[in-house]
C-alpha cells in the first residue's frame, strides 16, 4: 500500500471527476423522467462539441467563444434529435428509445472519426485558463478547473432539484414522469416541456464534454464512452433520484481516482463504474418482484 500522501492529489481529482459525472447524470435523469429516453448519445454529443471547439481554437478563435460553441453544438444536436425522433418513438418501450439514441451515437462517432481522425497520431487537447492557477489546501494542490468540476456538479444538482420542485415547468416534468397522457389532458404543453428537457440535457452534455476533454482527454472514443460512468451513477439511482445520482457519481469518481496509486489495481480502475453499478443493480434486483404486474392491473 502506498503512503497516504500518494493518495492526496487523487482525492481532489476524484472529486472533480465525480462532479462532472454528477452533472452528466443529472442531465440524463431529468431527460429520462420528462421524456422516457435514456440518452446514450450524451457522451458523443459532448465530444462533438469539444472537437468543434478545438477546431475553432486552432483557427484562432478566442477561448470563450469556442466554449460557448461547444455547448451550443451539443445542445442543438440534442434538441434536434429530440424534436425529430422523440414524437415517432414516444409510444415505444424505454429500451427501444434508448437503443435509438445509440443510432445517433454511431452517426456522431462516424462523423467525428471522419473529420478528426485519430489515426494520424495527432494528439489534441483543450486547456482552460483555470488549469494553471490554483491554491493549496492542507498541502494538496488544487487547480480551478477541478474546483469548477466539483462546483458544477453541486450547483447543477441543487439547481435542478429546486427547479423540479418549485417551478411550473419542473412540476410538469415530474408529472410527465408519472403519466404522459394524463399530464397532457391536464393542459400541460407536453411537447414544449419535452423540448425544454432535451435542450437542458444538451447544454449539460456540452458542459460535461468541455470539462472532460480538459480533465481526461480530447478523443472521440474516450469521451463517447465516458458517459458510461455517469450512466452507472444514474443506474444506481434507478433513473429516479437526483440526490442519489449525485452521491453515486461522487463515489465513482473518488474510487476510480483513489485506486490509481495502488499498483496491483491501477489497470482495473476503469472498471469502477461497471462494478459499482453491477453490484448495486443486482442487490436491488433481489428485492424486486414482478414489476410488469402493475401495468396489467
Amino acid at each position: 500500500m502506498p503512503p497516504w500522501s500518494d493518495f492526496e492529489p487523487f482525492i481532489v481529482s476524484g472529486l472533480a471527476l465525480g462532479g462532472v459525472y454528477a452533472l452528466s447524470g443529472v442531465g440524463l435523469v431529468v431527460l429520462y423522467r420528462a421524456t422516457g429516453v435514456l440518452y446514450l448519445a450524451f457522451g458523443a454529443v459532448g465530444a462533438m462539441g469539444a472537437l468543434v471547439a478545438w477546431s475553432l481554437v486552432q483557427a484562432g478563435a478566442p477561448g470563450w467563444i469556442s466554449w460557448l460553441v461547444c455547448i451550443a453544438v451539443a445542445a442543438l444536436i440534442t434538441l434536434g434529435y429530440g424534436l425529430l425522433f422523440g414524437p415517432p418513438l414516444s409510444k415505444r418501450d424505454p429500451l427501444v428509445k434508448a437503443v435509438a439514441t445509440l443510432g445517433l451515437t454511431l452517426v456522431l462517432y462516424g462523423v467525428m472519426d471522419l473529420l478528426w481522425t485519430t489515426s494520424g497520431g495527432e494528439a489534441r487537447s483543450i486547456t482552460l485558463p483555470t488549469d494553471n492557477s490554483g491554491f493549496t489546501v492542507a498541502s494538496i494542490q488544487v487547480n480551478w478547473t477541478q474546483v469548477i468540476g466539483l462546483a458544477a456538479g453541486v450547483v447543477i444538482t441543487a439547481a435542478t432539484g429546486a427547479f423540479l420542485r418549485y417551478t411550473n415547468l419542473g412540476t410538469a416534468m415530474r408529472a410527465m414522469a408519472n403519466d404522459r397522457e394524463i399530464t397532457a389532458t391536464l393542459g400541460v404543453p407536453v411537447r414544449k416541456v419535452e423540448a425544454a428537457a432535451w435542450l437542458g440535457c444538451g447544454v449539460l452534455a456540452g458542459v460535461a464534454g468541455l470539462l472532460l476533454a480538459d480533465m481526461v482527454a480530447l478523443d472521440a472514443t474516450t469521451l463517447t464512452f465516458l458517459v458510461v460512468s455517469s450512466l452507472a451513477a444514474v443506474l444506481i439511482a434507478r433513473l429516479r433520484s437526483i440526490a442519489l445520482t449525485f452521491a453515486a457519481a461522487i463515489v465513482i469518481g473518488l474510487v476510480h481516482d483513489l485506486i490509481t496509486p495502488i499498483t496491483s489495481l491501477t489497470n482495473y480502475r476503469d472498471m469502477t463504474p461497471f462494478v459499482l453499478a453491477a453490484v448495486a443493480l443486482l442487490v436491488v434486483s433481489r428485492r424486486q418482484v414482478m414489476s410488469r404486474s402493475r401495468e396489467e392491473a
Binding site: 418482484v289 414482478m290 410488469r292 404486474s293 402493475r294 396489467e296 392491473a297
Partner: protein, 235 residues
Amino acid sequence: MIEVAGLTVRFGGVTSLDDMSLTFEQGTCGLIGPNGAGKTTFLNVLSGFIRPASGTVRAFGVDLMSMAHYRRARWGLRRTFQTEQAIEELSVFDNVALVHEHSGLGRAARRQAVLEAIGFVGLDTGPDAKVGTLGAGQRRLVEVARAVVGRPRLVLLDEPAAGLPDEETRHLSEVLRSIPEHTGALVILVDHDMSLVSACCRTTAVLDFGKLIASGPTAAVLRDDDVIRAYLGVA
C-alpha cells in the same frame, strides 16, 4: 373450493385489496365492482403476478401463494386477460398446446386434448391458422381454449366479453357457461356485463374500493341495496 382469508394488497400508499375474505365453492362465480375496485388485482394475486402484503389463499387444499407462478398454470390455474393475449406468431394449435406442453402426457394424447379444446370453444378457423390473422372474437376463443385444455382446476376470466359485438358475446357466453360442467373446474368470472354475469354465475361477489361489500346467490346480490348504490347505479 377456494378459501381466501385476510387478503391485503398495497401499491405504495394505495390499498387495492383490503382484508378480503371469501370462499368460492364451485361452478362459475362472478366477481363484479366498479373500475379500480381490485378485481383484476385479485386475479393477479391468484396468478402470482402480485405478492400480497398479507393473507392466504387455499385452492383445493393447496396453499396457492407458496407456488411459483408458472407452476400454478401447470397445477391447473388458467386465465384469460383483459387485453387478449393470444400469441400472434403461433398457430391456434400451438397457442393452445403451449399450456399443455408440460403436462407429461404423450404426444398423441396432448394432440387429442388440444383439438378437443379447440372444438369445445367452437373455433371454426382450423387449428393451423395463424393467430395474427384472426379477428378479436376468435382470439378470445383461442384464449379460452388455452384456459380449458387438459385438466384445469381453476379458470380466471378477466372481462372475456369486453369489446365484442353482441353476436360473438352470445356465443362466448354459451361457451363460458359450459366450462364447469365440461372440465370440472371452478371458474371466476370478472365482467361488467351484468347479463353475462347473471347468465353464467350462480354466486357473485362484489368489490368496491378493495373491500368486499356483498356476496351470495347472484340474483340476491344484484338486488342488494349497497351493491346498487356502489356499482349498478339507482335502478
